[in-house]
Symmetry: C2
Subunit: 169 residues, 2 copies
DNA sequence: AAGCCTGAGTTCATAATATGGACTTAACTG
DNA sequence: CAGTTAAGTCCATATTATGAACTCAGGCTT
């Protein structure tokens, strides 16, 4: 009965890892906070600036990087009888960060929250609360104990070794 | 038929937001990469250092912060006939970042990946691939169109306004 | 027309962090 | 006893962030 295997390297090198790549793109405090606001619908330079109190020069650089990455779009728009303005809406790519962000919100609610969380999701159809889960191909929820990592079609860590100490979920 | 409402502030102030709080704790490139490796089972100082090529002084500071936050634990252990060593396993709190990280991985696979992803999850019981989804209280998957934001028990954005341009999922 | 306001930035001097390499310390090992 | 390994610390330099002030264009007011 060994204690759990000593894992000395990740099975996916950081440079081949889409999680690591994502973090390269958006894994920085201001970028994440900008995206949080964007997810709620904020779109204008000065509104991001006022809400987050981010230095204007940093905001400018971060928005440019997000546009460059395809996560936001820079767009001119014109309200009735107003001059043209700039807005930064999320693209489809950016919008789909909603799921990881909501999973992260749930984590924060559980581990950092005081009292009831302010924010949640519900079904428009029946008002039921929604949560993020791991499901199998039939849509059936899976228990944490039943989860295995797979790397390049092989179970990981290799046979004989214990499973990693922690599993998602 | 107005164009979508101009949202000028998030409905949850950053300082009251558990998502923003999470980002304060772990929203930094090295911290995220350290946690990625930790999720795969890496636990030792030099192994994090070698895998990520992170400056030792930065690694030291980040690990201390993660321990302080309760996300990792600093622990002495001793292998058979070896001297005592230090390891940094994830706590339960840290392990539960698996779900948001996996959601993020799926996003990266879709939008940044080239070719087939290297990493996935499967059911131990039947080998089925697993994915992250939004489900209602009965465990039924929900379509993106059917999702509403709720802030302090009220639907948001307020009635009359359009929904935010993008929805999670 | 002159001056004011607003949104969306840019510029720049200073402050805070990161970086990389060398150094330290405490067990073991041959 | 000298060498090695793991887990750090220390420090000079380089990079990035910060905050305040400035720019610029279009529209509004009188």
């Amino acid at each position: 009965m060994t204690d759990s295997l000593l894992v000395r390297r990740s099975p996916v090198k950081p440079c081949d890892c889409n999680l690591a790549r994502s973090f390269e793109l958006i894994g920085d405090r201001w970028t994440l906070l900008i995206l949080r606001s964007a997810m709620y619908g904020v779109r204008r330079f000065d509104d991001f600036q006022a809400e987050l109190d981010v230095p204007r020069s940093v905001l400018s650089a971060r928005l440019a990087a997000l546009v460059d990455a395809g996560i936001m779009e820079k767009r001119e728009y014109r309200e009735e009888g107003q001059r043209a303005r700039v807005e930064y809406p999320l693209t489809e790519m950016g919008g789909e960060l909603g799921l990881p962000f909501f999973a992260m919100t749930a984590w924060g609610d559980k581990w950092l929250g005081e009292g009831e969380p302010h924010f949640g999701l519900q079904s428009r159809a029946n008002g039921q609360k929604l949560k993020v889960m791991l499901v199998d191909e039939r849509g059936k929820p899976v228990k944490p104990r039943d989860i295995q990592y797979v790397v390049d079609k092989k179970v990981w860590p290799p046979e004989g070794a214990d499973k990693p100490r922690r599993q998602p979920g």
